[in-house]
Symmetry: C2
Subunit: 628 residues, 2 copies
């Protein structure tokens, strides 16, 4: 009695079994994306080209066997074991699949830079008292609350106003006065945004959120002290919709409309709730959030049309700051929870960059500073107190591990550093777990070794084993003899042999991977050249280089310079800022000066569009080669 459009699929994972409805889905990936707890990476967005959305078909329930695309991406023994690509399998009723145990916790620096400034919280709560009403003082309840809370006005919806009478009277007082907690937001002036029953001991918190294409970070900040209580970082739950913003935008036309927005909204809500629960903070005591992210992520969060961001001339729906109630955008943390979304500059210079530059304070210094955020895009800001220039390069997610064959995000088990000493290699993984893949910092390290040893030449070509053995240092010959192999008819380097990995398959770095890195680093280096040219100086004029973003947390700066990702002459002037965007969002929560700075940085920044820049095109071609 089963019909093809009435498909119930059983999904087994290490945490149990769940039955999902795949009736309306043309392929398994589509059905799985409706359930954010199944984190399936699909860097290509489900069009069948990346080969990453692997599932094990335990019971095919009549579904056809692997197609050519699957055979190209999955080796024979894995195919025999039932491994398939979720984007190619048509769901059938009664199908049973198993999902690999994927890690979603992202390891990035979640320590915030100390932002020394006067503590002016964006959200605050204090127990206050309003005099008892009488015939000589008939001020309304709202006016009493506004006055007692030292506010200039109230910003309360009818729904929020409906409860004010009862709340003001909830805490008994001897003289009939109203004793309550006034919830305020203080940006330019204090505004009453809620009242709560008096609770002197309540720990109230606010939340800074940084939505990266690859990683989402949430910081819980104490409203009374401004101290960070805790932080969490996860891979973006939109991974099944593509690795980069353009794939995610395009996925909107294929997947259920709003699915990608749902995924990020649910993830942020869950991360905030989990952090609060861990620290025994009631949801009602979460007052609000400051959110930054690249412009596409913010569009998904707000539910705006993303389509025109993806194609020239790259027009976002909105770049302004906006304050909304969490409930308006599916962040259902608590009633009255306010979400301040920081402003952006353009489709590809988002509020994350404004927040990062604000946190770096580079715009307050005379020193000429280069700020590079290497994420899925490479955003670059050059400037000092006199001027700010910004551009964005479509570097692609190679440095996030996404387009690298064995790449992964900054998760436990990711190879994050790599070196060679004589005929042996050393590597370290995040959280010291058994290796599962290579993250961006590991990719850079591996490529440095291969460049230094001549296995990859300056044009980016990886030598086949026989050619390589003529070039590599003599003490490394026995290593490369074993470690250079052939994949897809091109050379590849075995970073971690099969017997040391969890999957039992080797972790490799391929010719294709080298090309991905080459394109990404050329784009970033050319972006830097274009901004320096616009400023009228050469790289020697740089006083400082800041690396921001998750990738910047782990990267070896020497290796980055070796690849030509940063100007070689700046190597010693370079330092990592960690998650500068997160620091900026947190600063926005705790400092009025930071809130003013965000507006200043936005107003002062001149955006340089690279897609029409001749200078960028020339530099891009020039920067394709690796430094000799």
């Amino acid at each position: 009695m089963s019909r093809s459009h009435n498909a119930t699929v059983t999904v087994t994972t290490s945490s149990g079994e769940k039955t999902i409805d795949a009736s309306d889905s043309s392929h398994l990936l589509d059905a799985l994306t409706a359930h954010p707890e199944f984190h399936i990476p699909a860097p290509c967005g489900g069009v069948g080209t990346c080969g990453r959305c692997r599932v094990i078909l335990v019971d095919a329930a009549g579904a056809p066997g692997p197609d050519a695309e699957e055979r190209a991406h999955i080796n024979g023994s894995a195919l025999d074991a039932g491994v398939r690509l979720a984007c190619r399998v048509i769901p059938t009723d009664g199908m049973v699949i198993a999902l690999p145990d994927l890690r979603t916790t992202a390891y990035t620096k979640t320590t915030l830079q100390r932002f020394s400034s006067r503590f002016d919280p964006l959200f605050s709560a204090d127990t206050v008292s309003a005099p008892a009403p009488n015939l000589e003082d008939q001020r309304s309840e709202v006016t009493r609350a506004v006055d007692a809370g030292g506010c200039s006005r109230a910003d309360l919806s009818p729904h929020e106003l409906a409860g004010i009478s009862a709340t003001l009277r909830e805490t008994p007082s001897d003289d009939g006065s109203f004793v309550f907690d006034a919830i305020r937001t203080t940006s330019r002036e204090p505004v009453l945004i809620g009242v709560r029953p008096a609770s002197a001991k309540a720990q109230r918190a606010m939340v800074a959120v940084d939505i990266g294409t690859t990683t989402v970070a949430v910081y819980l900040i104490d409203c009374r002290t401004g101290e960070m209580i805790d932080a969490a970082s996860q891979l973006n739950a939109q991974a099944p919709f593509g690795a980069d913003v353009v794939s995610r935008i395009e996925s909107e036309s294929r997947s259920r409309r709003g699915a990608a927005a749902d995924a990020i909204r649910k993830q942020i809500t869950r991360m905030i709730r989990d952090l609060a629960e861990k620290h025994r903070i009631f949801e009602i005591d979460l007052l609000g959030a400051a959110v930054v992210g690249n412009t596409t992520m913010i569009h998904f969060l707000l539910g705006l049309e993303t389509r025109h961001i993806a194609a020239a001339p790259f027009i976002p729906a909105m770049t302004d700051a906006i304050v909304v109630r969490g409930s308006e955008i599916g962040i259902d943390v608590s009633s009255g929870f306010r979400v301040h979304v920081l402003p952006a500059i353009s489709a590809y210079i988002g509020s994350d960059i404004i927040a990062g530059v604000t946190a770096s304070r580079l715009f307050r210094s005379k020193r000429l500073t280069l700020f590079i955020d290497i994420g899925t895009n490479g955003e670059i800001v050059l400037g000092n107190k006199t001027r700010l220039l910004a551009c964005s390069t479509a570097a692609g997610p190679a440095f996030e591990g996404a387009t690298i064959r064995c790449g992964c995000g900054g998760i436990a088990g990711a190879v994050a550093s790599f070196s060679r000493r004589r005929a042996t290699t050393q590597y370290a993984t995040i959280a010291n777990e058994a290796p599962v893949g290579i993250c961006g910092a590991g990719v850079v390290d591996v490529l440095r070794v291969l460049l230094d040893d001549g296995v990859v030449d300056e044009t980016g070509r990886m030598l086949p084993v026989d050619e390589a053995l003529e070039t590599v240092p003599s003490d490394a010959r026995t290593l490369y003899e074993k470690r250079i192999t052939t994949i897809d008819a091109a050379p590849a380097f075995i970073v971690v042999p099969a017997d040391e990995t969890t999957s039992g398959e080797p972790i490799v770095f391929t010719q294709g991977d080298a090309r991905e890195v080459q394109l990404a680093k050329a784009a970033i280096a050319a972006g830097v050249d274009t901004l320096l040219d616009e400023w009228g100086v050469g790289p020697e004029a740089l006083d400082r280089v800041y690396l921001a973003g998750g990738f910047g947390s782990f990267i070896d700066i020497g290796a980055a310079a070796r690849l030509g990702l940063i100007p070689r002459e700046s190597e010693r002037k370079t330092r990592s800022l960690g998650n500068a965007a997160g620091t900026g969002a947190a600063a926005y929560l705790v400092s009025d000066a930071a809130r003013v700075d965000v507006e200043k940085v936005r107003a002062a920044t001149q955006y340089i569009e690279l897609s029409s820049s001749m200078k960028f095109m020339e530099a891009y071609v020039e920067r394709m080669a690796f430094p000799v």
Copy 2:
């Protein structure tokens, strides 16, 4: 199989039959109030004391017969015909009732006073064009719309922002520019509140709403010209919850919570939609509203707690102006429809009074003016350009016809004027229809005749027929001989004999009615005395008296002076303003000067609380007698 708490009741009216669920209702009135189309007056709010909520029990379906309360209010032949009080009948399954054909259209002056001022509409729409986006001009869609619309910023929710991309691109243009209609609100500065596909011919409208306790008036105003397109006026659909604000507030604790709020929200929505449909204006072309009303009505509209308005010290939840989306308060007229609720002063001086005073312009003149709005409460303002004093008297709804035995609102068939000439009486009804009851203006006229003829003496006592015949003018004796009767053991005057009424029962004016009017007029006159005393002048100092409100539209000013409702010396300085509150709300929509004036009047008005005023108490006792 029927259970007592599974009660389906069939309601028949002149417009058809409807089955309602009365399972959760303790009495029929409660079940009927959930359906605003059944307009059942219940001045007492359903506690069984007014005897007005009459229905005909066609099939009692086992329900018990009339109780003592019903027998006291309904005469024998009516009881035999199945007439019952809805507030006393317990619904049973299968019950069938018939409702009398009640009129809900209220006749009040819905012509607006001309408000001569520069035309600055609160809401406007214009077809504009934004240049085509390109790589040199990557402004966001919102920024383009804001700039093209000549606005300073946008106020759009995420939901409203979601559609902006598509709307801007909907109208094709040769050069890729965006051609669209910019919807603006202009209070201090123009703000973009929406975009619509370009539609040069669309007639767009805004709405002024005046919510009185008895009557609701809606005015449809053209956005392009500021002209009134049409207006509608209905009895407030909250009538089943009581005639005055205190009964309505108390009904909240007995009826389904929010029922009274629902009733007014649905009524306003329906009135706006009906007016728009009548003039072939699409709902999407209704841009917004300015709403005034007494503070209780505004609390119901916004869903605020009303309880503390009803008892001393009379504390409203809020008196500030607020701008909300219609959808937030159940006014679902069109997406993006904005509702500006005007500010109030106190629990009993609402935005309707501020709007009325604004419309009257009395605060701009040197002349000392008395402004009286006689509705369910009597609000009084005394002032000129130097100072404004305001008070509110709990006059009760006698002048709205509500506590008068045969009273009614200003509906078709209401006796609105009455006089005697020799042994005959003349009366006129609203819309010249067969008489159904007496409205406020008629009550005043009837009482003037009875006072002039000595049938009611200065203490308010109505003489029994034998005593009266000794006092009345000789040419009136044959009239009074027939027309004075006895009701509830007290004299009563037959205003319209049974053979001239639609119901076949006489329309009477009773001793009790005379007492109601006496109390009401004493309260208002004492309020006037108190304000004059506070000002330090006597009534001779008044330069002008303005009568506002629906009642003021029809009242005979001479009769009002005869009763002592207005100072006798001011009779010739008195004029009716019609619905001044509605004029003020409409002025708010079309004039920036009016919007500034509303704030000015609010700030300048000093509120005098009468419940603690010794002067008022003294004056109230003194003003109880009718002038000789």
